[in-house]
Amino acid sequence: MLSKTEIKETIEAVQNGDAAAFETLYDAYSEAMYGISFKILKDRKTAEDAVQDAFVKIWSKIHSFDSTKGSFFTWILNINRNTAIDIYRKTSKKTLVSIQNESNYVTSKLGTTSQNTEQIGISDLLKVLPAQEQEIIEYMYFKGFTQKETAEALNIPLGTVKTRSRKALKGLKELFILLATWI
C-alpha cells in the first residue's frame, strides 16, 4: 500500500493527466479490486473486465475525488464494487430469466449460507464471522442489496438485518486489526 503522501502526489499527477502515475495506482490497488470483483462476479474474465471499467472511471473522474468524504482507497473500492454490481445485475437478470425453474427457486429459498458463500469464496474471507453475519455481508456488499431487500431475500425481520450488519461490520474491523498486529 502507498503512504499518505505518495497517494496525494499520485492523485495530483493523475489529475494533471499523467498516465504513468496511473500505473502506480494500478499496482497498488488492482489486486484488492480484482479480489472483490471476482467475489461479486464469480468469473475471472468478467471480473477483469469490471476492474478495467472501474479503472477507466477512476481515471476519468479523478477530479471529483473529495478527500474530506473518506479515503482514496474507499473511493476506489466504491467505484469498483458499484461497477461490478452493475455488471452482476445485468448478467444475473439474463440468467435468472433463462435458468429459473422450480428446483432452482426452492434451492435459493432454502439455500444455506455455507453453500452460497462457499461457491464464491466469500466464506474464506469472512470465516471468522458467524454464518448469519457472513450472509448479511454477502447480500449487502457483494450482491448490492439494501437492508430491506436483504431482509426480504432471507425472509428475516428488517431489525435483525440491521443488528447483524452492524455486528458483522464491527467484527470485520476488529478482526482485521487483530490480523494486522499478528502479521
Partner: protein
C-alpha cells in the same frame, strides 16, 4: 433526533455501500458534519470494508495492466467544471464560470420581468395623460393608477435589490432538503458571507397548526444558533432572516409558536450544508 437510533437504523451502512437515495445521501453527509458519532460510524464501516478488500487480494492476469493502461490513454478525463455544480462558498476551480453563467441567466430572467413591468408602467403613464385631459370624475382613478405606478416602481427597485443580493459574488445559495421524516420539504437560503445578510425562500413547507412555527437555525462548528421565525411559508415567499457571518449549515425545525431557544431535533425538517 436520537443519534443512537439514527445509527442503529442502518442507514450509515447503506450510505457507505452506496445504496441510498440522493436525498438520504445528502442527509447522512449533513448529519456527519454535525454529529461526530455519525462520522465515526462512517469511518468504522469504511475501514472494515478496506480491511476486507486487502484480505480479498487476488492477482489478475498480467495482461490486464496493459489493457487498463491502453484504455485510460484513450479516455478523456472529466474536468472539474464540466460536471460539478458547485453549491459551496469556498471558491473552487471553475466555480467562477458557473456563477457567471448563473448570474447571466438570473439577470436575463429578472431583466425580462423588469422590462415587462416598465412597459406596463409606460402604458399606465400614457393612460394617465388621457385621463387628465378628461374630466374630474376620472381624477380618482388617476390617483389610483398613480399609486399602482408607485407600487410598480417600488417592485422594480425591490427586484433590483434582490438581484444585486442574489448575484453578489459573496452570496451563496444553499439548498435545504427535507429530512427522512419530512422528505417533501424544500427551501433555499441565500447567504452573503461579507454582509451577513440571510434570505430564506420557502419552496415547499406544509401549513403548521396555529400553535407552531418554523424556525431557522444556523450551525456553526456543530452549535445551533437562532436565525429567527419564518413568518411566510407559502411557496415562493421570501423572508429576511437574522444575520450571521459564519455558517456550516442551515436547518429548519418546527417549534412551539414564537420559537425556542434550543432547536427541537426530533422536529428537524430541513437541512442543507453551506
Amino acid at each position: 433526533m436520537d443519534i443512537k437510533e439514527y445509527i442503529a437504523s442502518g442507514i450509515i451502512a447503506d450510505y457507505v455501500f452506496g445504496s441510498v437515495s440522493k436525498q438520504e445521501h445528502q442527509e447522512v453527509e449533513c448529519m456527519s458534519k454535525i454529529y461526530p458519532e455519525i462520522k465515526a460510524e462512517i469511518t468504522l464501516i469504511q475501514e472494515a470494508i478496506e480491511n476486507m478488500a486487502i484480505n480479498a487480494k487476488e492477482k489478475p492476469s498480467p495482461e490486464l495492466k496493459q489493457r487498463v493502461m491502453k484504455a485510460i490513454r484513450a479516455t478523456q478525463q472529466v474536468k472539474p467544471n464540466q460536471n460539478i455544480i458547485p453549491l459551496k462558498t469556498t471558491p473552487k476551480k471553475g466555480s467562477t464560470k458557473f456563477y457567471a453563467a448563473a448570474s447571466i441567466l438570473v439577470l436575463i430572467a429578472l431583466g425580462t420581468y423588469t422590462f415587462f413591468l416598465r412597459q406596463d408602467f409606460n402604458k399606465i403613464e400614457f393612460q394617465n395623460k388621457l385621463f387628465v385631459s378628461k374630466n374630474d370624475s376620472l381624477n380618482r382613478q388617476l390617483n389610483q393608477l398613480q399609486l399602482e405606478n408607485n407600487y410598480s416602481n417600488e417592485l422594480i427597485s425591490q427586484l433590483d435589490n434582490s438581484l444585486q443580493f442574489v448575484t453578489n459574488v459573496n452570496t451563496s445559495r444553499i439548498q435545504l432538503s427535507g429530512t427522512a421524516n419530512y422528505p417533501d420539504n424544500q427551501a433555499e437560503v441565500y447567504w452573503n458571507q461579507s454582509t451577513s445578510q440571510t434570505l430564506f425562500i420557502s419552496k415547499n413547507l406544509p401549513e403548521l397548526s396555529i400553535n407552531e412555527s418554523y424556525q431557522l437555525w444556523v450551525l456553526i462548528d456543530g452549535e445551533p444558533r437562532d436565525m429567527g421565525i419564518i413568518e411566510n411559508n407559502e411557496a415562493g415567499d421570501v423572508s429576511m432572516m437574522k444575520t450571521t457571518n459564519k455558517a456550516n449549515a442551515f436547518a429548519v425545525t418546527i417549534e412551539p409558536k414564537g420559537g425556542s431557544v434550543v432547536p427541537t431535533l426530533e422536529k428537524l425538517c430541513l437541512i442543507g450544508n453551506v
